[in-house]
Symmetry: C2
Subunit: 76 residues, 2 copies
DNA sequence: GCAACTATAATTAGGAG
DNA sequence: CCTCCTAATTATAGTTG
């Protein structure tokens, strides 16, 4: 029997496993929202995320809009 | 009497006034989500938005995390 | 044009398989 | 590690002041 969702304290999720699950769920949620935002309002939007155990940023969308906007994202 | 929220077709909002209202509401929504995501999962996140009638990007957070990550966002 | 409201849609925490 | 479930929380479309 499922318990449904519980309220979440707005602070770092201590348990690594839970934190990782939340990371993936919410990352997808934000990307979905950004995609809808772009379509509904005809706005170019880009999201840059630095995953927990990596210095390599995740950039959305894959072919960043920032390029066509004459903006460069450069690793130093 | 309020009608509550209606379902929205996933396509460009034709009416400028409605589109602008949605733009502001959803922009705040995405930023809130990104902020929560950063706190809950200890992840640096940055959002770049190009408003409809401007070439000047809106960057969140104001003091972009990307700077401390040795990433540069440069207008060409 | 804004802020507040509210009914409804959408997200998601925690669990189960 | 998934994917699915479901109740509860959260976001928000349309309206009103």
């Amino acid at each position: 029997m499922s318990m449904g969702r519980a309220k979440l304290k707005m602070e770092l999720i201590a348990k690594e496993k839970t934190r990782n699950t939340t990371y993936h769920k919410r990352k997808q949620g934000i990307i979905k929202k950004a995609n809808e935002f772009s379509i509904l309002c005809d706005v170019d939007t880009s999201i840059i995320i630095f995953p927990p155990n990596s210095n390599e940023p995740e950039i959305w969308p894959e072919n960043p809009v920032i390029k066509s906007r004459k903006i460069s994202l450069l690793t130093c």
